[in-house]
Point group: C2
Chain length 131, copies 2
DNA sequence: CCGTATCCGATCCGATACTG
DNA sequence: CAGTATCGGATCGGATACGG
């Protein structure tokens, strides 16, 4: 039984090279999910994206876009104007990722209150343990 | 319009404190997804989990379980035997997370071939550019 | 068995400066 | 406008040792 069947019945064994990790590492970073969301309505230029993502640095965004491009989730198109323009667009493959991403995003919104309550309870228990 | 509506129509603005990131950071780490999967069939003890996760260190697993516990996604129960035993179990809240996680996991499996092709193409383009 | 503590190298990320 | 280059702090994760 290989890891593809991991969600079938039975207890599974995960190796470090679990196939899910090969991709999960690349998209579970700080900005990827938001970049894809920003690009959802249509193509956008570098600084346009940057303006939507408050707090992102140029380096972080460049790295993120480069990684998304390498993985085939966004495409990059140079517009030969002066000064130069670069437009990023979500690919069909990137759009397929949005489906599970949106599900996860909705989960975070729905679960947040419960998680915050759990955190408060946990931290309170730790406080208690110190005394 | 706040970020809750981010998947509705229109271009959105993301601040650093996007509510999704408050949680996403915590669960998008190296082992959380696999830990929840391993715990899916039922409760398990520390070293039992560790044995399923080939390559995880004690520290990494402890940190991961602690974080999952703090966020209310798993529960921890000390079994007063000698030597001591500790059992981890997925919580009802944790189970709700499995739904989007499984969707994402399936996506990684389905998309992997296309992503690998995209990577190869990207890397080939870079090679080309060097020459 | 189940941790915690410590060190330590790798890596991420932001800040800054510079370029076509 | 859209990068690249570089530096340094913070954080992550592995290895190891030790304790209840």
């Amino acid at each position: 039984m290989i890891e593809t069947d991991v969600f079938a019945a039975g207890r599974q064994h995960f190796s470090v090279e679990c196939p899910s990790r090969l991709l999960f590492d690349q998209i579970a970073d700080k900005w990827s999910m938001m970049v894809l969301t920003v690009l959802d309505p249509g193509p956008m230029r570098f600084n346009g994206i940057k303006r939507q993502l408050e707090g992102v640095t140029q380096k972080a965004l460049t790295d993120c876009l480069r990684r998304l491009e390498r993985n085939g989730l966004v495409s990059r198109r140079v517009i030969p104007v002066s000064p130069i323009g670069v437009e990023y667009e979500i690919t069909p493959l990137g759009r397929t990722l949005q489906v599970p991403f949106k599900a996860l995003y909705r989960w975070t919104l729905e679960a947040l209150p419960q998680v915050e309550a759990a955190r408060a309870a946990f931290d309170a228990r730790r406080e208690e343990a110190v005394r």
